[in-house]
Subunit: 176 residues, 2 copies
DNA sequence: ACGTCATACATCGGCACCGATGTATAGTCC
DNA sequence: GGACTATACATCGGTGCCGATGTATGACGT
């Protein structure tokens, strides 16, 4: 969950922990804030995995900063995660948005299109939130105004995303 | 995450674990499947908390079933969680949808309206995914087609939900 | 009679994340 | 010069969730 944005931001520029945290907060913080006590263990984990380097920078401000930068292995890991995302990255909107935020780093338009097509397939497969007798219930059939809201909102989102996906895929196919 | 749907479904009818799992899967399973090894510990936890009762039903099928039903305390807990949801239930779309799926059980229209207004306030407060120089970046300004997609989709969702929220709130206010 | 599958419940080890708390330094205000 | 705040990194215990695996029974085909 946290590792993809860390890889993504560090691919764009070396950062120290505090700045990294601010960027992650800007990206997804309004949905789910990220605690400091989650970030630093994640950094350690990823350093141990060989994905990033920590260079002490005993500079001007406050406590000594560690400048974080991606290793070649870290870059490879980022590309692997972008090219072949976890199923949850496809189905969960927040995680999908994180993939989209860094997908441009996957330089090849064809590879980008493959990822978009996975999301397209997910959105096109029939699914609902509510069922009666094994059959999906449409918004029009639901009495409960709150459950109807869920369906109305989900439908609007789906429509907007399908439109965007199709036009973007057309552009990518033309480019490739 | 799991406890609210369990409370909600058991409020509607006593169920055994397997059936409960199927209902939870129908509600949110297409986004994030729920493992059996998560459900049963959750049930135990909630039984220990006094929210539900497990009555063995050594009936016809397969392994002995436990029929799960809410206690009065469980019902009170459900009402508390619906009336005063966790901040994450408001900001995270999937969790918000779960609240909506059971909000009708909060019988009082005024109490329902309070919850909807919290979501309204969340959606109305300006927020973005991407920032440049501390300033939010609008879809029109973004070069990257993928980041533009995030903003376009989020905007469509927000518009649809704001419309639904305002009309539903009007109806609730008229009813109260 | 036997293998296979679906149903139903259960345990265990591991991991990501979090809240609480701690430490240390630089800047700001009075 | 002392109180306070913001920055920056860190540890610890607890919790919720998961994958792997196990156990037991009824249903069904052959």
């Amino acid at each position: 969950m946290l590792e993809l944005p860390i890889l993504g931001f560090l691919h764009e520029a070396p950062l120290h922990g505090y700045e990294l945290r601010k960027r992650v907060a800007a990206l997804t913080g309004h949905i789910k804030p990220i605690a400091e006590s989650t970030l630093y263990p994640a950094i350690k984990r990823m350093e141990k995995a060989g994905w990033l380097r920590r260079d002490p920078q005993p500079g001007a401000v406050a406590a000594p900063r560690h400048v974080l930068s991606l290793t070649d292995e870290g870059r490879a890991e980022l590309m692997r995660r972008l090219a072949d995302p976890d199923p949850l990255d496809i189905s969960n909107e927040n995680r999908w948005f994180t993939v989209l935020a860094f997908l441009r780093h996957l330089a090849d338009p064809a590879a980008q299109a493959v990822v978009l097509r996975r999301r397209l397939a997910f959105l096109e497969e029939p699914s609902s939130f509510f069922y009666a007798d094994e059959r999906p219930v449409s918004a029009e059939e639901v009495d409960d105004p709150f459950r109807r809201g869920v369906l109305v909102i989900a439908r609007a989102t789906s429509r907007a995303e399908l439109g965007w996906l199709r036009s973007t895929l057309a552009a990518l196919d033309a480019a490739g």
